[in-house]
């Protein structure tokens, strides 16, 4: 079971790496695509081994439930890493703007495809701004950006109930510093993937 899952995960990672290569800027995406998901894929195998000494029916069920929970959590982490990976390679908001660029739409289409496949997962879209401007206005700007992403995914067919949007304003920058490079990295939307009940 675990082996199978691992195989499936690796396969999907490879599959994904391939699609990532197909995007216009492969050199950037390729080196980072593989390592992170693989590390999470190994996790479910190691954890249950430590639990093995106790082996009656009750605890077996408990172990199974735990295994299942861990498997789900690992998959959630994998999906989140994957989605953020897709989005991390591109600047997709211009200064003080919330419109999606063509590049951003391309990437979001990939995210949408993933979400269509993985129906148990819901997402939180976090809107962010660069460090310029006031805290207050940047909250509204981040909210507008997250909303534009949500609207795009909804139009692609993702149920709005699976998506939540939140603004972090300029409070959670990805890159430090006051360069245009740092600014452009921080004008972004991030995703958190949650397991639905």
């Amino acid at each position: 079971m675990n082996k199978l899952l691992k195989f499936a995960l690796v396969a999907s990672v490879v599959g994904f790496a391939l699609t990532a290569c197909a995007t216009p800027e492969p050199p950037k995406t390729e080196p980072e695509a593989a390592p992170a998901p693989e590390a999470t894929a190994v996790q479910p195998e190691t954890a249950p081994i430590a639990e093995q000494p106790v082996l009656n029916a009750d605890s077996l069920a408990a172990v199974k439930a735990k295994e299942e929970a861990e498997r789900l959590e690992a998959e959630r982490a994998r999906l989140e890493a994957l989605i953020n990976q897709i989005m991390s390679e591109d600047v997709y908001f211009d200064f003080d703007r919330s419109e999606l660029t063509e590049k951003a739409k391309e990437l979001l289409a990939q995210v949408a495809e993933l979400l269509i496949k993985e129906t148990r997962f819901s997402i939180t879209i976090e809107g962010h701004t660069d460090a310029r401007g006031t805290e207050d206005y940047n909250f509204t700007l981040g909210a507008k950006r997250a909303m534009k992403v949500k609207e795009f995914l909804a139009a692609y067919g993702i149920d709005a109930k699976r998506m939540e949007s939140v603004s972090y304003g300029k409070e959670a920058p990805k890159a430090a510093g006051e360069s245009e490079e740092a600014y452009s990295q921080n004008r972004r939307a991030n995703f958190r993937v949650n397991i639905r009940d």
């Binding site: 006031t134 206005y137 909250f139 909210a143 949007s165 939140v166």
Partner: protein, 433 residues
């Protein structure tokens, strides 16, 4: 009849000329201000010379752990923006007369039992040596500074007939171990105490009515949400039924809270009662609205709207009616705050990615740039007496809190380490007299 129409035509012509001039004026005064080095401090303030003489000390020396009384008073006098300090080792009528000093302060320090100091403080008329204010404080040395603040506010009251701000406080945000926390200090940066101790960001502190506590934003739910904490009390969430609440502004008359809430990407102003927890939408507008600020008597509200694309400052009545645009110059004008005297607003404007502080009249005219060529300057907050503005600036390399006169002169830094932002000035403290 004919005459009347002619007169009417003439007046419309005059009006259009007047309007044209009004329209031009902001850019003219802007250009003029731009050439003035703000830090030099060309002050329109009327300052009053005051003599400050060291307090006499007992023969057995006092081990001073911080500044002496006259040093604390000198800093208060300088920060107040009201005085020009004339320092003298001892009473010196010749010097005082030459410098037009009509009044001077001095006093006497003696040791008391229990490691306390007895500090007798006096305000005298220089010519006659008549005493105008005499006050005695018996305090441990750690509380000397606050005692001196109290005395200094009495001096201001006697000489200006107004309340001073030496006993007021500031709330602001300070980064600790990489996390923004809300802190409070005396207005001069001393006696700092930490209000939030969270693993998630706290920010945007404002004062509750009568300085009973603070309202602020925290991210512990992974969303911005308003909380309040009375001093010595526990933190309580505000308006949990509303999503993403921030930009709090306390009504100075009723204590109600005006704030922003973002639902599905749309940001609106809400007004709520902190005790009952009830809140309702304040104004139904198509644009996003944030950064509300009350007029001194809570009859009107300033706020920021993005209806023109970027942020601009607007004003409306307390019932959400009669909306007017205030700022027209530049593309980014945000976070207005209304002066306690009611005649001007201070706000942050961004140009070429740099933020600076401006003030203008309520109709947007008479724009004055207060900061220039010194990093980013933002988040202006008025002192309750309307004489000063505190703000955050990264001119030294890191963000710190500064105080200046309302005309931009006399800039003084009051925090020194870490990163400190988003100051808001307390109301007056009433335990003075």
């Amino acid at each position: 009849m004919k005459k009347k129409t002619k007169a009417f035509r003439f007046s419309t012509l005059a009006m259009s000329i007047a309007l044209g001039v009004m329209f031009l004026l902001p850019s003219l005064s802007f250009a003029a201000i731009d050439t003035i080095a703000v830090d030099v401090g060309i002050s329109v303030f009327k300052t009053m010379p005051i003599g400050i003489v060291p307090f006499t000390e007992p023969k057995e020396n006092i081990e001073w752990i911080e500044e002496k009384p006259h040093q604390i008073l000198t800093r208060d006098a300088n920060l107040s923006g009201r005085f020009e300090v004339v320092a003298s080792d001892k009473f010196n009528l010749a010097l005082f007369s030459r410098k037009h000093v009509k009044h001077y302060v001095t006093g006497k320090v003696t040791k008391q039992d229990g490691n306390k100091l007895r500090v007798d403080c006096y305000l005298y008329i220089a010519q006659t040596k008549d005493m105008l204010v005499g006050e005695t404080y018996v305090v441990p040395q750690q509380e000397l500074r606050r005692a001196m603040h109290k005395f200094f506010d009495l001096v201001i009251k006697r000489l200006w007939g107004e309340r001073g701000v030496a006993s007021t406080k500031l709330a602001y945000v300070s980064k600790m171990d990489g996390i923004k926390q809300v802190v409070v200090s005396d207005y001069d940066g001393y006696h700092r105490s930490q209000i939030t101790r969270d693993t998630s960001i706290s920010m945007m502190p404002v004062w509750m009515k009568e300085n009973k506590g603070l309202v602020y934003v925290n991210f512990k739910t992974h969303r911005p949400r308003l909380y309040f904490k009375k001093f010595g009390g526990v933190e309580q969430p505000l308006f949990p039924n509303l999503d993403q609440t921030y930009s709090p502004a306390v009504n100075p008359v009723t204590g109600e809270l005006l704030f922003s809430s973002t639902v599905d990407g749309k940001t609106d102003l809400y007004i709520g009662n902190m005790n009952s927890g009830k809140a309702r939408k304040f104004a139904y507008l198509k644009s996003n609205q944030t950064s509300p600020a009350w007029s001194p008597y809570a009859t009107e509200v300033l706020f920021t709207s993005d209806r023109g694309g970027g942020p601009q400052i607007f004003v409306m009545g307390k019932d959400g009616s009669d909306m007017r645009r205030v700022t027209f110059m530049g593309r980014y004008n945000e976070r207005a705050s209304w002066s306690p005297e009611g005649d001007r607003i201070a706000y942050t404007s961004m140009d070429n990615g740099k933020m600076n502080i401006y003030t203008c009249a309520l109709d947007g005219s008479d724009i004055v740039q207060l900061t220039n060529n010194a990093g980013n300057n933002e988040h202006p907050t008025w002192s309750p007496d309307g004489k000063l503005i505190a703000f955050a600036s990264n001119r030294s390399g890191s963000y710190q809190i500064y105080i200046m006169r309302k005309d931009g002169s006399n800039v003084t830094r009051i925090t020194n380490s870490g990163e400190n932002t988003s100051p808001t000035w307390s109301f007056f403290y009433d335990d003075l007299d």
